[in-house]
Protein backbone atom coordinates (compact mmCIF):
# COMPACT_ATOMS: atom_id res chain seq x y z
CA UNK A 1 0.00 0.00 0.00
CA UNK A 2 2.78 2.39 0.92
CA UNK A 3 4.69 1.25 -2.12
CA UNK A 4 1.62 1.86 -4.24
CA UNK A 5 1.17 5.39 -2.92
CA UNK A 6 4.86 5.99 -3.45
CA UNK A 7 4.65 4.92 -7.08
CA UNK A 8 1.73 7.27 -7.68
CA UNK A 9 3.64 10.02 -5.93
CA UNK A 10 6.72 9.48 -8.10
CA UNK A 11 4.66 9.79 -11.28
CA UNK A 12 3.03 12.94 -9.93
CA UNK A 13 6.36 14.41 -8.85
CA UNK A 14 7.96 13.64 -12.19
CA UNK A 15 5.13 15.38 -14.04
CA UNK A 16 5.10 18.39 -11.76
CA UNK A 17 8.85 18.75 -12.06
CA UNK A 18 8.74 18.54 -15.86
CA UNK A 19 5.93 21.03 -15.89
CA UNK A 20 7.73 23.41 -13.56
CA UNK A 21 10.81 23.35 -15.74
CA UNK A 22 9.14 23.54 -19.13
CA UNK A 23 5.93 25.34 -18.13
CA UNK A 24 4.63 24.05 -21.41
CA UNK A 25 1.05 23.16 -20.53
CA UNK A 26 0.45 25.70 -17.81
CA UNK A 27 1.48 28.83 -19.72
CA UNK A 28 -0.49 27.85 -22.78
CA UNK A 29 -3.54 26.90 -20.71
CA UNK A 30 -3.56 30.11 -18.72
CA UNK A 31 -3.32 32.12 -21.92
CA UNK A 32 -6.05 29.97 -23.43
CA UNK A 33 -8.30 30.69 -20.45
CA UNK A 34 -7.75 34.41 -20.93
CA UNK A 35 -8.59 34.12 -24.62
CA UNK A 36 -11.78 32.23 -23.79
CA UNK A 37 -12.86 35.01 -21.49
CA UNK A 38 -12.51 37.52 -24.29
CA UNK A 39 -14.39 35.25 -26.67
CA UNK A 40 -17.27 34.84 -24.22
CA UNK A 41 -17.42 38.60 -23.84
CA UNK A 42 -17.50 39.15 -27.61
CA UNK A 43 -20.04 36.40 -28.16
CA UNK A 44 -22.47 37.63 -25.51
CA UNK A 45 -22.02 41.37 -25.96
CA UNK A 46 -21.40 44.07 -23.39
CA UNK A 47 -24.58 43.58 -21.34
CA UNK A 48 -23.26 42.96 -17.85
CA UNK A 49 -26.40 41.29 -16.47
CA UNK A 50 -26.46 38.81 -19.30
CA UNK A 51 -22.83 37.91 -18.67
CA UNK A 52 -23.46 37.48 -14.98
CA UNK A 53 -26.47 35.28 -15.59
CA UNK A 54 -24.40 33.10 -17.88
CA UNK A 55 -21.41 33.08 -15.56
CA UNK A 56 -21.73 29.55 -14.06
CA UNK A 57 -22.15 28.05 -17.51
CA UNK A 58 -19.29 30.07 -18.97
CA UNK A 59 -16.99 29.16 -16.12
CA UNK A 60 -17.53 25.43 -16.59
CA UNK A 61 -17.53 25.65 -20.35
CA UNK A 62 -14.16 27.35 -20.06
CA UNK A 63 -12.89 24.67 -17.71
CA UNK A 64 -14.09 21.85 -19.92
CA UNK A 65 -12.48 23.43 -22.99
CA UNK A 66 -9.24 24.02 -21.11
CA UNK A 67 -9.51 20.43 -19.90
CA UNK A 68 -9.81 19.17 -23.47
CA UNK A 69 -6.49 20.83 -24.26
CA UNK A 70 -4.70 20.19 -20.99
CA UNK A 71 -5.88 16.68 -20.16
CA UNK A 72 -5.45 15.53 -23.75
CA UNK A 73 -1.74 16.22 -23.40
CA UNK A 74 -1.30 14.08 -20.29
CA UNK A 75 0.49 11.25 -21.99
CA UNK A 76 1.99 13.13 -24.91
CA UNK A 77 5.17 13.77 -22.97
CA UNK A 78 5.54 10.03 -22.59
CA UNK A 79 5.73 9.40 -26.30
CA UNK A 80 9.25 10.76 -26.76
CA UNK A 81 12.38 8.91 -25.72
CA UNK A 82 10.50 5.64 -25.14
CA UNK A 83 9.03 6.97 -21.91
CA UNK A 84 5.84 5.05 -22.65
CA UNK A 85 7.80 1.79 -22.59
CA UNK A 86 9.46 2.91 -19.39
CA UNK A 87 6.08 3.51 -17.77
CA UNK A 88 4.83 0.13 -18.91
CA UNK A 89 7.83 -1.59 -17.42
CA UNK A 90 7.09 -0.13 -14.01
CA UNK A 91 6.76 -3.04 -11.61
CA UNK A 92 3.60 -3.58 -9.62
CA UNK A 93 0.09 -2.31 -10.07
CA UNK A 94 -0.20 -0.10 -13.13
CA UNK A 95 -3.09 1.86 -11.70
CA UNK A 96 -0.59 3.76 -9.54
CA UNK A 97 0.48 5.48 -12.77
CA UNK A 98 -3.12 6.42 -13.41
CA UNK A 99 -3.49 7.89 -9.93
CA UNK A 100 -0.27 9.87 -10.30
CA UNK A 101 -1.33 11.23 -13.67
CA UNK A 102 -4.78 11.98 -12.32
CA UNK A 103 -3.36 14.00 -9.43
CA UNK A 104 -1.06 15.86 -11.80
CA UNK A 105 -4.01 16.76 -14.00
CA UNK A 106 -6.00 17.79 -10.97
CA UNK A 107 -3.27 20.20 -9.91
CA UNK A 108 -3.02 21.60 -13.42
CA UNK A 109 -6.77 22.13 -13.69
CA UNK A 110 -6.94 23.78 -10.28
CA UNK A 111 -4.28 26.25 -11.38
CA UNK A 112 -6.37 27.08 -14.44
CA UNK A 113 -9.49 27.38 -12.28
CA UNK A 114 -7.91 29.81 -9.87
CA UNK A 115 -6.83 32.06 -12.70
CA UNK A 116 -10.15 31.75 -14.52
CA UNK A 117 -12.07 32.68 -11.38
CA UNK A 118 -9.82 35.65 -10.73
CA UNK A 119 -10.26 36.81 -14.32
CA UNK A 120 -14.02 36.41 -14.12
CA UNK A 121 -14.08 38.52 -10.98
CA UNK A 122 -11.88 41.13 -12.59
CA UNK A 123 -13.43 41.42 -16.05
CA UNK A 124 -17.08 40.83 -15.26
CA UNK A 125 -17.06 42.66 -11.94
CA UNK A 126 -18.37 39.78 -9.86
CA UNK A 127 -17.71 39.68 -6.15
CA UNK A 128 -16.62 36.08 -5.65
CA UNK A 129 -15.37 36.59 -2.10
CA UNK A 130 -18.40 35.44 -0.10
CA UNK A 131 -19.01 32.43 -2.35
CA UNK A 132 -15.41 31.27 -2.40
CA UNK A 133 -15.73 28.48 0.17
CA UNK A 134 -18.79 26.99 -1.51
CA UNK A 135 -17.23 27.39 -4.94
CA UNK A 136 -14.15 25.51 -3.75
CA UNK A 137 -16.29 22.49 -2.84
CA UNK A 138 -18.02 22.48 -6.22
CA UNK A 139 -14.77 23.02 -8.08
CA UNK A 140 -13.08 20.21 -6.17
CA UNK A 141 -15.81 17.70 -6.96
CA UNK A 142 -16.21 18.79 -10.57
CA UNK A 143 -12.50 18.84 -11.31
CA UNK A 144 -12.06 15.36 -9.87
CA UNK A 145 -14.72 13.98 -12.21
CA UNK A 146 -13.36 15.83 -15.22
CA UNK A 147 -9.78 14.75 -14.56
CA UNK A 148 -10.69 11.13 -13.75
CA UNK A 149 -12.37 10.44 -17.08
CA UNK A 150 -10.04 12.80 -18.94
CA UNK A 151 -6.90 11.03 -17.72
CA UNK A 152 -8.29 7.62 -18.63
CA UNK A 153 -9.35 8.66 -22.13
CA UNK A 154 -6.15 10.63 -22.66
CA UNK A 155 -4.11 7.49 -22.01
CA UNK A 156 -6.21 5.70 -24.58
CA UNK A 157 -6.20 8.32 -27.31
CA UNK A 158 -2.57 9.40 -26.94
CA UNK A 159 -1.56 6.34 -28.97
CA UNK A 160 -3.97 6.98 -31.81
CA UNK A 161 -3.58 8.92 -34.98
CA UNK A 162 -6.92 10.75 -34.68
CA UNK A 163 -6.16 11.72 -31.09
CA UNK A 164 -7.21 15.40 -31.26
CA UNK A 165 -10.54 14.36 -32.67
CA UNK A 166 -11.33 11.31 -30.60
CA UNK A 167 -10.47 12.71 -27.20
CA UNK A 168 -13.20 15.38 -27.16
CA UNK A 169 -15.66 13.08 -28.92
CA UNK A 170 -15.28 10.55 -26.11
CA UNK A 171 -14.86 12.91 -23.19
CA UNK A 172 -17.63 15.43 -23.84
CA UNK A 173 -20.62 13.04 -23.72
CA UNK A 174 -19.20 11.45 -20.59
CA UNK A 175 -18.95 14.88 -18.98
CA UNK A 176 -22.60 15.84 -19.42
CA UNK A 177 -23.63 14.93 -15.85
CA UNK A 178 -20.59 16.69 -14.38
CA UNK A 179 -21.37 19.80 -16.38
CA UNK A 180 -25.06 19.82 -15.41
CA UNK A 181 -24.28 19.28 -11.74
CA UNK A 182 -21.44 21.76 -11.45
CA UNK A 183 -23.24 24.51 -13.34
CA UNK A 184 -26.32 24.17 -11.14
CA UNK A 185 -24.25 24.04 -7.97
CA UNK A 186 -22.07 26.97 -9.04
CA UNK A 187 -25.14 29.00 -9.80
CA UNK A 188 -26.49 28.34 -6.33
CA UNK A 189 -23.13 29.15 -4.76
CA UNK A 190 -22.89 32.46 -6.61
CA UNK A 191 -26.43 33.37 -5.61
CA UNK A 192 -25.40 32.96 -2.00
CA UNK A 193 -27.49 29.90 -1.26
CA UNK A 194 -26.08 27.46 1.29
CA UNK A 195 -24.69 24.22 -0.06
CA UNK A 196 -27.54 22.32 1.60
CA UNK A 197 -29.85 23.61 -1.12
CA UNK A 198 -27.87 21.80 -3.77
CA UNK A 199 -26.81 18.81 -1.70
CA UNK A 200 -28.38 16.44 -4.24
CA UNK A 201 -26.06 17.81 -6.91
CA UNK A 202 -23.05 17.51 -4.66
CA UNK A 203 -23.95 13.94 -3.80
CA UNK A 204 -24.34 13.15 -7.48
CA UNK A 205 -20.93 14.70 -8.17
CA UNK A 206 -19.32 12.76 -5.35
CA UNK A 207 -20.90 9.51 -6.54
CA UNK A 208 -19.83 10.18 -10.12
CA UNK A 209 -16.28 10.94 -8.95
CA UNK A 210 -16.08 7.67 -7.05
CA UNK A 211 -17.46 5.70 -10.00
CA UNK A 212 -15.06 7.32 -12.48
CA UNK A 213 -11.97 6.97 -10.31
CA UNK A 214 -12.75 3.32 -9.50
CA UNK A 215 -13.32 2.48 -13.17
CA UNK A 216 -10.12 4.33 -14.04
CA UNK A 217 -8.11 2.37 -11.51
CA UNK A 218 -9.63 -0.92 -12.58
CA UNK A 219 -9.32 -0.49 -16.35
CA UNK A 220 -6.09 1.48 -16.70
CA UNK A 221 -3.88 -1.58 -16.98
CA UNK A 222 -5.89 -2.73 -20.02
CA UNK A 223 -5.13 0.53 -21.77
CA UNK A 224 -1.45 0.42 -20.98
CA UNK A 225 -0.59 -3.11 -22.04
CA UNK A 226 0.10 -4.26 -25.56
Amino acid sequence: MILYARRAWIVLWKDLLTERRSKESLNALLFFALLLLFLFQFALGPDRDRLRAALPGLLWLGLVLAGLLGLGRTFITERDNDCWEGLRLTPGDKSAIYLGKLLGNFVLMVAVEVLLLALFGFFYDVDLGPALGRLAVVLFLGTTGLSAVGTLFAAMTSQLRARELLFPVLLLPAQVPILLATVSATEAALLGQPLGEVSHWLKLLAAADVVYVVIGIMTFEFILDV
Partner: protein, 217 residues
Amino acid sequence: MGKSWTRALGWLAVCGLLAGLVAGFGYAPREVVQGNVQRIMYLHVPSILTAYLAFGLVLLGSGAYLLTRRAGWDRLAASAAEIGVVFTAVTIVSGSIWGRPTWGVWWTWDARLTSTAVLLLVYVGYLLLRAMVDDPDARARYAAVVGIVGAANIPIVHFSVKWWRALHQPSTILGPEPSPIAPAIALALLVNWIGFTLLFAYFLSRRLEIARLEERA
Protein backbone atom coordinates in the same frame (compact mmCIF):
# COMPACT_ATOMS: atom_id res chain seq x y z
CA MET B 1 -25.21 -20.28 -34.58
CA GLY B 2 -26.04 -21.98 -37.86
CA LYS B 3 -27.22 -20.23 -40.99
CA SER B 4 -30.61 -21.91 -41.01
CA TRP B 5 -31.08 -20.94 -37.40
CA THR B 6 -30.42 -17.30 -38.25
CA ARG B 7 -32.85 -17.47 -41.16
CA ALA B 8 -35.52 -18.95 -38.94
CA LEU B 9 -34.93 -16.17 -36.47
CA GLY B 10 -35.38 -13.66 -39.29
CA TRP B 11 -38.75 -15.08 -40.27
CA LEU B 12 -39.76 -15.22 -36.65
CA ALA B 13 -38.92 -11.51 -36.38
CA VAL B 14 -41.01 -10.78 -39.48
CA CYS B 15 -43.95 -12.62 -37.91
CA GLY B 16 -43.45 -10.79 -34.64
CA LEU B 17 -43.36 -7.39 -36.35
CA LEU B 18 -46.43 -8.20 -38.45
CA ALA B 19 -48.26 -9.26 -35.32
CA GLY B 20 -47.09 -6.00 -33.79
CA LEU B 21 -48.52 -4.00 -36.68
CA VAL B 22 -51.84 -5.79 -36.39
CA ALA B 23 -51.88 -5.29 -32.64
CA GLY B 24 -50.90 -1.65 -32.91
CA PHE B 25 -53.25 -0.63 -35.71
CA GLY B 26 -56.03 -3.19 -35.61
CA TYR B 27 -56.44 -4.43 -32.09
CA ALA B 28 -55.43 -1.53 -29.86
CA PRO B 29 -58.12 1.15 -29.51
CA ARG B 30 -57.68 4.73 -30.64
CA GLU B 31 -56.40 6.72 -27.70
CA VAL B 32 -59.01 9.20 -26.47
CA VAL B 33 -56.90 12.29 -25.89
CA GLN B 34 -54.05 11.99 -28.36
CA GLY B 35 -55.82 10.16 -31.16
CA ASN B 36 -53.95 8.03 -33.64
CA VAL B 37 -50.68 9.80 -32.92
CA GLN B 38 -50.41 7.74 -29.78
CA ARG B 39 -49.81 4.64 -31.92
CA ILE B 40 -46.24 5.86 -32.47
CA MET B 41 -45.71 4.55 -28.98
CA TYR B 42 -45.74 0.99 -30.35
CA LEU B 43 -42.58 1.88 -32.23
CA HIS B 44 -41.10 4.29 -29.70
CA VAL B 45 -41.21 2.24 -26.51
CA PRO B 46 -40.07 -1.12 -27.95
CA SER B 47 -37.19 0.69 -29.69
CA ILE B 48 -35.80 2.16 -26.51
CA LEU B 49 -36.26 -1.09 -24.60
CA THR B 50 -34.34 -2.87 -27.35
CA ALA B 51 -31.65 -0.20 -27.25
CA TYR B 52 -31.27 -0.69 -23.50
CA LEU B 53 -30.95 -4.42 -24.08
CA ALA B 54 -28.28 -3.74 -26.69
CA PHE B 55 -26.29 -1.44 -24.42
CA GLY B 56 -26.56 -3.97 -21.63
CA LEU B 57 -24.96 -6.47 -23.99
CA VAL B 58 -22.23 -3.93 -24.79
CA LEU B 59 -21.43 -3.74 -21.09
CA LEU B 60 -21.49 -7.53 -20.78
CA GLY B 61 -19.29 -7.99 -23.85
CA SER B 62 -16.86 -5.27 -22.72
CA GLY B 63 -16.43 -6.59 -19.21
CA ALA B 64 -16.17 -10.21 -20.34
CA TYR B 65 -13.62 -9.27 -22.99
CA LEU B 66 -11.32 -7.59 -20.48
CA LEU B 67 -11.58 -10.60 -18.18
CA THR B 68 -11.20 -13.37 -20.76
CA ARG B 69 -9.60 -11.62 -23.77
CA ARG B 70 -11.70 -13.67 -26.14
CA ALA B 71 -12.42 -11.95 -29.45
CA GLY B 72 -15.99 -13.23 -29.40
CA TRP B 73 -16.93 -10.94 -26.52
CA ASP B 74 -15.52 -7.97 -28.38
CA ARG B 75 -17.55 -8.88 -31.45
CA LEU B 76 -20.65 -9.09 -29.29
CA ALA B 77 -20.02 -5.62 -27.80
CA ALA B 78 -19.30 -4.08 -31.20
CA SER B 79 -22.34 -5.62 -32.87
CA ALA B 80 -24.71 -4.78 -30.03
CA ALA B 81 -23.44 -1.18 -29.93
CA GLU B 82 -24.15 -0.65 -33.62
CA ILE B 83 -27.67 -2.01 -33.36
CA GLY B 84 -28.27 -0.10 -30.12
CA VAL B 85 -27.34 3.17 -31.80
CA VAL B 86 -29.82 2.46 -34.60
CA PHE B 87 -32.63 1.72 -32.17
CA THR B 88 -31.81 4.78 -30.06
CA ALA B 89 -31.97 6.89 -33.19
CA VAL B 90 -35.34 5.33 -34.07
CA THR B 91 -36.54 6.17 -30.56
CA ILE B 92 -35.50 9.80 -30.85
CA VAL B 93 -36.90 10.27 -34.36
CA SER B 94 -40.22 8.59 -33.55
CA GLY B 95 -40.44 10.57 -30.31
CA SER B 96 -39.82 13.76 -32.23
CA ILE B 97 -42.57 12.94 -34.72
CA TRP B 98 -44.90 12.24 -31.81
CA GLY B 99 -43.82 15.38 -29.95
CA ARG B 100 -44.64 17.76 -32.79
CA PRO B 101 -48.45 17.30 -32.68
CA THR B 102 -48.56 16.51 -28.96
CA TRP B 103 -46.21 19.03 -27.39
CA GLY B 104 -46.14 21.42 -30.35
CA VAL B 105 -42.38 21.19 -30.83
CA TRP B 106 -40.02 18.80 -32.57
CA TRP B 107 -37.52 18.93 -29.79
CA THR B 108 -37.54 20.09 -26.21
CA TRP B 109 -34.84 19.82 -23.58
CA ASP B 110 -36.94 17.54 -21.46
CA ALA B 111 -35.16 15.16 -19.13
CA ARG B 112 -35.70 11.89 -20.92
CA LEU B 113 -35.23 13.31 -24.37
CA THR B 114 -31.95 14.77 -23.26
CA SER B 115 -30.68 11.65 -21.54
CA THR B 116 -31.61 9.52 -24.55
CA ALA B 117 -29.75 11.96 -26.79
CA VAL B 118 -26.71 11.78 -24.49
CA LEU B 119 -26.95 7.99 -24.64
CA LEU B 120 -26.82 8.21 -28.42
CA LEU B 121 -23.79 10.53 -28.29
CA VAL B 122 -21.91 8.22 -25.93
CA TYR B 123 -22.33 5.19 -28.15
CA VAL B 124 -21.71 7.08 -31.38
CA GLY B 125 -18.41 8.07 -29.73
CA TYR B 126 -17.85 4.39 -28.98
CA LEU B 127 -18.38 3.48 -32.63
CA LEU B 128 -16.12 6.35 -33.77
CA LEU B 129 -13.38 5.03 -31.51
CA ARG B 130 -13.76 1.56 -32.97
CA ALA B 131 -13.56 2.98 -36.48
CA MET B 132 -10.39 4.93 -35.75
CA VAL B 133 -8.20 2.30 -34.09
CA ASP B 134 -6.47 0.05 -36.60
CA ASP B 135 -4.86 -2.51 -34.34
CA PRO B 136 -7.60 -5.06 -33.53
CA ASP B 137 -6.24 -5.89 -30.09
CA ALA B 138 -5.96 -2.24 -29.00
CA ARG B 139 -9.36 -1.54 -30.52
CA ALA B 140 -10.98 -4.26 -28.47
CA ARG B 141 -9.33 -3.13 -25.23
CA TYR B 142 -10.03 0.58 -25.70
CA ALA B 143 -13.58 -0.03 -26.82
CA ALA B 144 -14.19 -2.25 -23.81
CA VAL B 145 -13.05 0.52 -21.45
CA VAL B 146 -15.25 3.08 -23.20
CA GLY B 147 -18.13 0.62 -23.15
CA ILE B 148 -17.79 0.21 -19.39
CA VAL B 149 -17.46 3.95 -18.71
CA GLY B 150 -20.45 4.60 -20.97
CA ALA B 151 -22.65 2.07 -19.21
CA ALA B 152 -21.62 3.23 -15.73
CA ASN B 153 -22.46 6.74 -16.83
CA ILE B 154 -26.03 5.91 -17.82
CA PRO B 155 -27.53 6.13 -14.29
CA ILE B 156 -25.47 9.25 -13.52
CA VAL B 157 -26.66 10.92 -16.70
CA HIS B 158 -30.20 9.79 -15.93
CA PHE B 159 -30.32 11.47 -12.52
CA SER B 160 -28.43 14.58 -13.53
CA VAL B 161 -30.71 15.24 -16.45
CA LYS B 162 -33.81 14.39 -14.42
CA TRP B 163 -32.99 16.98 -11.79
CA TRP B 164 -31.95 19.43 -14.44
CA ARG B 165 -35.36 19.40 -16.07
CA ALA B 166 -38.55 17.41 -15.99
CA LEU B 167 -41.39 17.70 -18.51
CA HIS B 168 -41.80 14.21 -19.96
CA GLN B 169 -44.69 12.17 -18.72
CA PRO B 170 -43.40 9.91 -15.97
CA SER B 171 -42.46 6.42 -17.01
CA THR B 172 -45.58 4.28 -17.01
CA ILE B 173 -44.16 0.84 -17.70
CA LEU B 174 -40.92 0.84 -15.75
CA GLY B 175 -42.19 3.21 -13.07
CA PRO B 176 -42.62 2.20 -9.44
CA GLU B 177 -46.43 2.44 -9.29
CA PRO B 178 -48.74 -0.09 -10.93
CA SER B 179 -49.26 1.05 -14.47
CA PRO B 180 -52.49 2.92 -15.29
CA ILE B 181 -52.26 1.76 -18.88
CA ALA B 182 -55.29 0.23 -20.64
CA PRO B 183 -54.97 -3.57 -21.00
CA ALA B 184 -55.47 -3.53 -24.77
CA ILE B 185 -52.75 -0.93 -25.24
CA ALA B 186 -50.45 -2.80 -22.89
CA LEU B 187 -50.97 -6.00 -24.87
CA ALA B 188 -50.25 -4.27 -28.17
CA LEU B 189 -47.08 -2.86 -26.62
CA LEU B 190 -46.04 -6.26 -25.41
CA VAL B 191 -46.55 -7.84 -28.85
CA ASN B 192 -44.50 -5.09 -30.46
CA TRP B 193 -41.82 -5.40 -27.85
CA ILE B 194 -41.48 -9.11 -28.53
CA GLY B 195 -41.35 -8.38 -32.26
CA PHE B 196 -38.59 -5.83 -31.76
CA THR B 197 -36.60 -8.13 -29.52
CA LEU B 198 -36.79 -10.85 -32.17
CA LEU B 199 -35.67 -8.34 -34.79
CA PHE B 200 -32.78 -7.36 -32.53
CA ALA B 201 -31.77 -10.99 -32.08
CA TYR B 202 -31.84 -11.45 -35.85
CA PHE B 203 -29.77 -8.30 -36.50
CA LEU B 204 -27.32 -9.35 -33.81
CA SER B 205 -26.78 -12.83 -35.18
CA ARG B 206 -26.26 -11.45 -38.69
CA ARG B 207 -23.90 -8.75 -37.45
CA LEU B 208 -21.91 -11.27 -35.43
CA GLU B 209 -21.60 -13.42 -38.52
CA ILE B 210 -20.23 -10.46 -40.49
CA ALA B 211 -17.80 -9.63 -37.69
CA ARG B 212 -16.56 -13.22 -37.67
CA LEU B 213 -16.02 -13.16 -41.44
CA GLU B 214 -14.26 -9.80 -41.21
CA GLU B 215 -11.87 -11.11 -38.64
CA ARG B 216 -11.08 -14.19 -40.72
CA ALA B 217 -10.38 -12.09 -43.81
